[in-house]
């Protein structure tokens, strides 16, 4: 349907010069596409949509639907420009970056229209990038090497959880048996008291006329004795101490200490900060916190159930832990009257549930279960307890940012943690005065919390951002985020530079 246009041999001196340059190497073309531009007379658009004469390639006018006729200019808005960047690495740019007055390629080849003069920075950038890549390779490889430690610890943890679950089962049985026994004794005692009372009443009836007043006194005395006896029997319900010793019959209730392979102890984390890595800013004073219940007990009422699974990998030797690190389980136990039997059961259920969490294909992330990390940002302290919860603390007050929900995966790796149900977003400050108008509901009025994993030597809460109100984004460094794949990628990039 197109009318016949009339092409003229309108070849200016400029075009001739341009062509002679282009014949050497077509500007902006990727090496793998070079053959497309190799013909002497014609060029066929990469998508095959049309064929034009070769002098219309890179002639500052867009002829192809896909922009492929202008690889070296900005004439096609959907085109790409390739720069060789010798000494660093080749780069593909949007065609919008060509001759826009900004040097985007380190070799400056994207600016050839005389708008700016670019200095070739490829050697410097290449050297800088080489260092970054080498560091990256090192980090990823080290991280991968450490992974087996995590897997081992995760395995031990898992075994401990199984064991604990069994113990709990036995404990539950034991306690309930004992409770049943005590209940029987108590029933018998009550029955006896009841019978004695009846007997007493009957006797009173018979002797009423004789020594009514004296008998009454005797009866009072007797009743007091009975009461004392009853109290004594009740005290025979076993104490926590007794339960512990009975528990010992089935095995130690505490989670066994782990092999000496901790990589994330406090000292090393501080070293991370000192070493730099860009996190020295005292404004963001990173701090590693080992969250354990205080030695005096009194655990947080919301967490006392699963605190049992606090996995204390600071135990780097086989010795019995010292008093302040070790929480004797008997202190957790309360007299059975105060402690519903179902608590042990729910603890047991949780053990099973936690085992079903996504800890990665090799379960390595289980080694981080309930490990807690903090980061100070302005007046707020942010805390993340892995697979548990995230919190924002401001002086005395505390805001739940969410409890463990799920992972987002990237290339098969566990990449972003999501914590949800942190509750509704609370009101912001000041401008509330202007916020009284009814507006459509937000996409989500709930707090959103996500934690991205980045590869590093140690566990470390790198940053906390609140890009918009009630949306929290953390970056968490761990060797578990390192991958052989990324190391390989970096290695290939390094090779590409060297060439």
């Amino acid at each position: 349907m197109a009318g016949a246009g009339r092409a003229l041999a309108m070849v200016s001196m400029l075009a001739l010069v341009a062509m002679s340059v282009q014949s050497e190497e077509m500007r902006g073309v990727q090496p793998e596409d070079a053959h497309l531009y190799a013909k002497k007379d014609m060029f066929t658009c990469k998508d095959g949509s049309s064929t034009i004469s070769i002098d219309k390639v890179n002639d500052e006018f867009c002829d192809c639907n896909d922009g492929s006729d202008e690889p070296g200019t900005a004439a096609c808005s959907n085109g790409v420009f390739w720069c060789a960047n010798k000494g660093w690495k080749a780069k593909l740019l949007f065609s919008s970056r060509v001759n826009d007055g900004v040097c985007d390629c380190c070799d400056g080849s994207d600016e050839h229209a005389g708008i700016v003069t670019c200095v070739n920075r490829c050697q410097e950038e290449g050297a800088e990038q080489r260092n970054i890549l080498m560091r990256s390779i090192q980090l990823h490889e080290q991280g991968v090497a450490k992974r087996s430690d995590y897997v081992a610890r995760a395995h031990a943890f898992r075994e401990a959880v199984f064991k604990r679950r069994d113990e709990l089962g036995n404990l539950i049985q034991e306690v309930s048996q004992k409770l049943d026994g005590f209940q029987a004794q108590r029933d018998e005692l009550n029955k006896k008291i009841s019978e004695e009372t009846e007997e007493r009443l009957r006797q009173e009836q018979e002797a009423r006329e004789a020594e009514e007043k004296k008998r009454a006194e005797e009866e009072q005395k007797r009743a007091e004795e009975l009461a004392a006896q009853q109290a004594e029997m009740a005290n025979q319900v076993p104490s926590g101490e007794e339960i512990k010793s009975s528990g010992d019959e089935f095995g130690s209730p505490e989670v066994p200490p782990m092999a000496p392979q901790a990589v994330d102890d406090l000292g090393e984390t501080q070293q991370v900060v000192q070493e730099g890595k860009g996190y020295e800013d005292p404004y963001y004073s990173g701090k590693h916190v080992d969250k354990r219940p205080s030695p005096t007990g009194n655990p947080d009422p919301n967490t006392h159930v699963d605190d049992w699974y606090s996995y204390d990998n600071d135990h780097t030797d086989e010795e019995k832990p010292s008093e302040d690190e070790y929480r004797p389980p008997e202190e957790e136990y309360k007299p059975p009257e105060e402690r519903p039997k179902t608590e042990a059961e729910s603890e047991s259920e949780l053990a099973v549930k936690v085992l079903e969490y996504d800890f990665g294909p090799d379960m390595a992330f289980m080694a981080l279960y309930d490990k807690c990390y903090e980061q100070q940002v302005q007046q707020y302290t942010y805390e993340i307890c892995m697979f548990r919860h995230a919190k924002q603390k401001d002086g005395g007050s505390e805001q739940n940012l969410g409890t463990w929900s799920h992972w987002t995966h990237e290339n098969g790796h566990n990449s972003v943690m999501h914590y949800t149900n942190g509750g509704g977003c609370w009101n912001g400050p000041a401008r509330s005065m202007k916020e009284q108008q009814a507006l459509p509901p937000a996409r989500s009025a709930d707090i959103l919390e996500q934690v991205s994993m980045i590869c590093g030597e140690d566990e470390f809460l790198v940053s906390v951002q609140e890009p918009s109100r009630c949306v929290y984004e953390m970056e968490f460094m761990t060797p578990l985020a390192c991958s052989a794949h990324r190391a390989q990628e970096a290695r290939e990039q390094l090779l590409a530079i060297s060439h």
Binding site: G5, S50, N65, G114, K434, Q436, Q437, S444
Partner: protein
């Protein structure tokens, strides 16, 4: 629309309004008669007396002020205290008189808040007693009146009195930050009426609280104007065309400042981009997604505790480095600088002003203090020229530590907003420079603030153009600042009201105006956000902004499809920048609005006089925003004065439009799916496909020529060397005309002739490019060339197309012609755009 009702005064809450409205004009004794009329200077001067107050004569002066403008001034013949007369608003004022004296108001003995009144616990002492003034004016033959910004109403102002009145309250002009719609943040006391072949307007030069009642009379609109204080100073404008009246108004209050080119690009704002890393991330994402933008904005949180002109060094440790980094890619930054200064002797901007006595004063003479963002604050008295000088000096990098030449300014909260004041503003009995009461100058506070900020920019960047955004304004504010419509919401009805609001501002001379894209409050659905970008791309000021409690809404956060639609909308904006910039030149030199009601371009088409959901961008483009969800097609009225025809304007909305020549037919399809070249007859409503992926309907008027730059770029600066495309849309006589304005985009050289204005004319199969004005300027890069010419509505295929250059050179050009759509594309004339040429289309 809803607004925060309890914060507003109604007429019944206001003594002068009650009294003025009670006056019904039926009492003959109130009628003034002229005495001793005589010629003086270029007008008539007379004494006015009436039977009610025979001992209080008034002095009337009526003059032909400028061509076509009639001025009436009425003041007291004598009084103890001169009444306030507005200064600094008129440009080249040829008749500033000394004031006469006394109370003009007719007090009938009742004590209805004459000497003191209170509202919501705020007491107004009224030391001068009642001073209100009022006059009636009739607009003969008018069906509609327009104007009186700023309010969220329709463009056509409904009646406030009489049977079937649209509302009870008079239109109120009183700059307030009482959240939504009426009155709003700015005021221009001008009212227009238009009927075929006759346009008129009334400008009421008074900065006190002002009310206007509108009602029907026999074949007319009656208006009643009254202000709380000051004098009657009225300008009557008339012309046979609406543009004539616009130009008259511009001759009174001045024209739009010529903005730097970058400020016509897309602005990305949020309350708040939190810190250095956040700004760099947002900046880099625009490049990552190849979305153009020019300016990154910082709201109040970037300061040290809302102490303006400071940077929080924890959040922004190196603000200069940040600005230089953005500038290396051609981008700028804007920081917010509000008029309330935190009361803190450790804050030098405050402490120095305190020492110099530069703050507004309470009625008892002490410095006024009120509450705003930083807590207890004082407000600089910008009416004082010394204060303006002081303010200007604060913009020098030595004082504004952390600023660079790449930093521009946002003046917010300048109504002024005082959180604990009456109606969230200053008490009326507060005192300004020269012992002037705030009641007399309230609507000028923001005007003077922006005047001072402009002076600051000129100190910071001598010889270069300022850019300031202001929320408050008065008549003439267009000389100093762009204006946005303030705090809107993420609602379809707020998107819809943006069009009439911006038209209203434009009629008020506030030509560089826009509404926050997406809506400030709340979270827009992606479709609403896209529609907002599509509409706002064709409005003069184009900024995305969001409240601190909203979700992030940068274009890439909604998935590739939505991102692509937003990118296309923003690119469509950059594409028309040469046309838009030329329109700004017309606004700057002639006073013509950028955004125009249809009746301004089609004064003979009576259908248009009640339309405000479509607008003209200049004389060539008709834009119809889509303002409801799930829209697949829109009804578009294509106006016509005489034989007008329209062509769908390519708006860059689909990937297919991304660039081809040989398969150009897919490229230049319009929104209708028909070929871009197919014309539609005007004077009727047509249905146009307008799905969210297709964009909003935009049409080019036959007979116009639009210059564009078609290459995708990341900023206006990156486009500076790009070649131009000309869209030549022929009318039924196969003729078209247009213009192209070129300057350096940044300096004041254009005021000394350092620009090119080229006229474009297509006639008798010849396209002429001739310089009409300017002595030119030197490009800092190779001069941009002509990349392509597209002619729409050309019925015959030319035998050849030939370029003829001024130096005598020339060449035959390659072209392609499609008979079915009557469209022709010339490939790469490649002639520099700073020289004259012609292209002939030989039969």
């Amino acid at each position: 629309m809803a607004f925060k009702e309890e914060e507003f005064r109604y007429c019944k809450d206001s003594s002068f309004c009650r009294r003025q409205r009670k006056f019904d004009g039926q009492d003959d004794r109130a009628t003034y008669k002229l005495h001793n009329a005589h010629l003086e200077d270029n007008g008539v001067v007379a004494e006015m007396k009436n039977a009610l107050n025979p001992n209080q004569p008034l002095k009337l002066r009526a003059t032909i002020y400028k061509s076509g403008i009639f001025r009436i001034e009425i003041d007291e013949a004598s009084s103890a205290k001169p009444r306030y007369r507005v200064k600094d608003v008129l440009v080249g004022d040829i008749s500033q008189h000394s004031s006469s004296e006394g109370a003009m108001e007719d007090i009938t003995g009742e004590n209805d808040g004459l000497w003191e009144e209170s509202f919501k616990g705020h007491s107004d002492s009224k030391p001068n007693g009642p001073e209100s003034i009022g006059v009636d004016f009739d607009f003969m033959g008018a069906k509609h009146v327009y104007g009186l910004p700023e309010r969220g109403s329709r463009l056509m102002l409904g009646n406030t009195r009489g049977e079937g009145a649209a509302r009870d309250e008079p239109y109120r002009l009183y700059n307030l930050d009482v959240f939504e719609y009426e009155p709003l943040y700015g005021a221009v006391p001008i009212l227009y009426s238009h009927r075929p072949n006759f346009s008129s307007a009334l400008f009421w030069l008074n900065a006190a609280e002002t009310m206007v009642d509108v009602e029907d009379g026999p074949d007319m609109k009656r208006t009643h104007w009254f202000s709380e204080s000051g004098v009657i100073d009225v300008f009557l404008l008339s012309s046979d065309t609406p543009k004539g009246v616009q130009m008259q108004f511009a001759s009174l209050v001045g024209t739009q400042f010529m903005p730097p080119m970058f400020s016509l690009g897309y602005h990305q704002c949020r309350w708040n981009y939190k810190d250095d890393a956040d700004v760099r991330m947002v900046d880099s994402k625009f490049d990552e997604y190849d979305i153009p933008y020019d300016v990154l904005w910082l709201d109040i949180e970037h300061t040290v505790g809302k102490r303006y002109l400071t940077w929080d060094k924890h959040l922004f440790p190196d603000p200069e480095g940040l600005q230089h980094d953005l500038a290396s890619r051609g981008r700028k930054m804007v920081t917010i600088i509000d008029p309330h200064l935190k009361v803190d002797m450790g804050y030098s901007v405050y402490a120095e002003a305190k020492r110099l006595g530069f703050f507004c004063k309470n009625k008892d003479g002490g410095d006024f203090e009120g509450h705003c963002w930083p807590g207890t604050s004082s407000w600089l008295d910008y009416l004082n020229p010394e204060v303006r000088d002081y303010w200007a000096s604060r913009f020098l990098p030595a004082n504004y530590v952390g600023s660079t030449e790449h930093l521009y300014t946002w003046n917010d909260m300048n109504e002024p907003s005082v959180f604990n004041g009456p109606e969230i503003t200053m008490p009326k009995d507060l005192l300004h420079y020269g012992n002037v009461e705030h009641r007399d100058v309230h609507n000028l506070y923001g005007f003077y603030m922006t005047m001072a900020t402009v002076a600051g920019h000129k100190l910071l960047r001598p010889g270069r153009r300022p850019f300031i955004l202001s929320r408050a304004f008065f008549a003439g504010s267009q000389r100093y600042a762009a204006v946005w419509t303030g705090d809107n919401g993420a609602r379809w009805d707020h998107l819809a009201s943006a069009t009439p609001m911006l038209l209203q501002l434009s009629l008020g001379g506030i030509h560089f105006c826009g509404a926050d894209v997406g809506g400030f409050f709340g979270n827009p659905e992606p479709e609403l956000l896209v529609r907002w970008y599509q509409a706002a791309a064709y409005t003069p000021f184009f900024r995305g902004h969001a409240h601190i409690d909203t979700q992030r809404r940068e274009p890439w956060l909604f998935g590739d499809v939505v991102m692509g639609q937003i990118r296309a909308a923003i690119r469509a904006r950059y594409l028309v920048l040469p046309y838009l910039y030329t329109l700004f030149h017309m606004a700057h030199t002639q006073g013509l609005p950028i955004m125009r009601p249809l009746w301004m371009e089609f004064p003979g088409d009576e259908v248009t006089i009640a339309m405000d959901d479509e607008f003209m961008l200049g004389e060539a483009l008709l834009v119809k925003p889509v303002v409801s969800a799930n829209t697949r097609s829109s009804n578009v009225y294509l106006p016509s004065d005489k034989d007008d025809i329209w062509y769908p304007f390519r708006n860059g909305q689909t990937p297919k439009e991304q660039g081809v020549f040989t398969s150009l037919w897919s490229r230049f399809r319009g929104q209708t799916g028909s070929l871009r070249g197919q014309a539609q007859a005007g004077g009727k409503t047509i249905s146009v496909d307008s799905g969210v992926e297709q964009g909003i309907p935009v049409f080019q008027r036959g007979g116009t020529i639009i210059p564009t730059r078609e290459r995708a770029r990341r900023s206006t600066s990156a486009m500076r060397a790009d070649p131009f495309t000309l869209h030549v849309a022929l009318n039924v006589r196969e003729e078209a005309s247009g213009s192209l304005y070129l300057d350096d985009g940044d300096t004041d050289e254009h005021t000394a002739g350092g620009f090119f204005l080229f006229g474009l004319k297509f006639q008798s199969n010849q396209l002429e490019y001739r310089q009409t004005e300017g002595s030119g300027f030197k490009f800092s890069h190779p001069p941009p060339a002509l990349e392509r010419v597209i002619v729409y509505g050309i019925t015959k295929q030319p035998a050849r197309v030939t370029l003829k250059r001024k130096n005598g050179g020339g060449s035959e050009l390659e072209f392609i012609y499609d008979k079915e759509s009557a469209m022709l594309i010339v490939r790469k004339p490649n002639v520099p755009m700073n020289e004259e040429w012609s292209i002939s289309f030989a039969k």
